[in-house]
Symmetry: C2
Subunit: 342 residues, 2 copies
DNA sequence: GCGATGCGAGAAAAGGGTTTCCCAACAGCT
DNA sequence: AGCTGTTGGGAAACCCTTTTCTCGCATCGC
């Protein structure tokens, strides 16, 4: 049974390397970092010793001296992770290639835990913080005079001087709508989540604007409700009564779209022949499992994370961007649910 | 708006505290850590100064001296995150309460990136590593003579001497089956994922064993196929022809179960009155969106993560567990799809 | 042959905190 | 008064690495 001390056969330090190469510590450091002037023979000797001992500089010591840690904190409240995970991975990707490591913190949407974690991150001297969430609704700032820069991704700080990066919901709504128009649909209904969500309002606005530009109006009322399949099923019923001639439905989420698809099928309307369907989120298991597979709007969550990371890196490097909300364009993912019937 | 230089107002060091309290650095340290003997008045004075200056010990400096970093690495290859995220959050939860911070690494299932990240983690002197995955299939060990302990969670090392923590698929299968038996079903079919997956085989074995104990056999063949809804739809057709008197179906995933539910409904079989249905995963958006809401088996992914974290903490503390595979019991989540008809 | 130059390498400090060791002062005892 | 014991606090070493400063020595030019 390996005790920690056996197992953790103390990593070699620069002292060990220096001793093995019969030089001073300072010289070893210079050889390893290519600083100063050294005889080639000396340098090679040190490098060989380092190689042999498997030497890796201790980043704690380096950071201590440089006053940097090359770490950032990633604070998420999204225990389910459906939206924030792609954002987190995008951020991790962008930061990781910059040799920055990421501390993960899950606040479970609890402000107390959040405060606690932010404190701990600051104690660890992270150089920046990214905050992600499950919704893009404005949330309280984690603090306006933190000693390090903060970027909000896939969530939005209520403080206008913070930097927030969110998907372009309005643009996504317009994108979906123009796609439906391009396939010849003109009587387009809308079923979406609760009106209290800005994302729902923005997507609806994208639809209305794009329709207005084509001289059209939505078919039936805009149906705000829940983000669930069940609401999709109910709303489709409502829509079929209010606007029986509807030939397309733009839905505020893929889950809603699945519910709508089910009711449409049971009402004898064929998708896409009679009614075309567009979802939102490009949540693949949902969108691909739908019958037929669902055309949907992809928010490019990974790109949101990457952009947030780049902004954070800039701010860390002393080039802070002005505060405000930045949006990342959405992308349309065409599938069978809007195929032209020919 | 704070400029970077204003913003990075050098955190207070113990020197500052000592100066403010008019004591030596050593005394300040003792006061802050409750070591040594100090007059109450002195201790209070130091604490007050620390409070006033917002002093937080620099963990780099502490770690440097103690030879510890209080960090672990979390390596995941599951870019989608559906399974590994709950595991990660469970692990983060257990580690976080132990004051250990977690470095997140996404390998995108690429062995090169994985190697790279493990190297970087070791360079950062993490005290342990947790590896998570999207599937519980055996995977290559990340290395058997790493200087720190490693625990695999929701994935399984091909090296038997590593510690792997995975869900109890067989027990989960048995649990689902006994639940169906308890509601009076006796002709139980099975639709699941590809046979090459050990998880699929184990779940099927759980079913077969539980049925055998009741003196029963599965209805029709065990239908191995894909993890998709589409396969669920196809397989339900097959099953209805092969065993028209089937009165329950246990499915290897919630997605499959949804496909099965759809075909059953279209074939005029009522769920749960004519045919009861059990899924696997307790993937809530899928299970709750199903009509009717799906009874399913929850693998307790968070618990897998927490258990992995506890094992890792034990190993770090010098109490390594023997290598091998540990399973976490699954839980049945009863919903309408198996409600007794009465 | 002598000063100037440059090369190569070591010594030392810095960075922030903990811990051990040591010392001064004071109280209590005979 | 002198000795012992206790208490409170300071000095310094240590962790590991980087960087600056210094210095010995050899070479070069004059």
């Amino acid at each position: 049974m390996a005790t920690p001390s056996e197992r953790a056969a103390k990593p070699a330090t620069i002292r060990d390397v220096a001793a093995a190469a019969a030089v001073s510590i300072g010289t070893a450091s210079k050889a390893l970092n290519g600083r100063g002037r050294l005889r080639d023979e000396t340098r090679d000797r040190v490098l060989a010793a380092a190689e042999r001992l498997g030497f890796r500089p201790n980043p704690l010591a380096q950071g201590l001296l440089a006053g940097r840690t090359y770490t950032v904190g990633l604070v998420t409240g999204d225990s389910y992770g459906r939206f924030s995970i792609p954002v987190m991975l995008g951020a991790e990707d962008a930061l990781g290639s910059g040799q920055i490591s990421v501390f993960l913190c899950d606040t479970r949407d609890d402000p107390i835990r959040e405060r606690h974690y932010v404190d701990r991150l600051l104690a660890r001297r992270v150089e920046g913080v990214i905050v992600t969430g499950r919704r893009t609704e404005p949330r309280p700032s984690i603090g306006r005079d933190l000693p390090v820069p903060v970027v909000y991704a896939m969530t939005r700080s209520a403080d206008e001087s913070d930097i927030s990066i969110i998907p372009d919901d309005e643009g996504g709504g317009a994108l979906a709508t123009r796609h439906l128009l391009a396939t010849g649909r003109t009587r387009i209904g809308h079923v979406t989540g609760p009106e209290r969500f800005q994302a729902a309002r923005d997507r609806a606005r994208g639809l209305s604007t794009a329709l207005a530009q084509a001289g059209l109006e939505p078919a039936g009322e805009l149906l705000f409700g829940q983000w669930s399949e069940e609401w999709g099923r109910q709303a489709a019923d409502i829509l079929l009564h209010a606007a029986p001639d509807v030939d397309a439905v733009f839905c505020g989420s893929d889950q809603i779209a699945r519910g709508v698809a089910e009711t449409l099928r049971e009402a004898g309307r064929r998708v896409p022949d009679d009614v075309a369907l567009v979802g939102f989120d490009n949540w693949e298991p949902m969108a691909l499992g739908c019958r037929p597979p669902l055309t949907t709007v992809d928010m490019n969550l990974g790109e949101i994370g990457r952009l947030a990371a780049r902004h954070l890196l800039d701010a860390i490097a002393g080039r802070p961007a002005p505060g405000g909300v930045l949006t990342v364009p959405a992308t349309l993912v065409p599938r069978a649910s809007t195929r032209r019937s020919t």
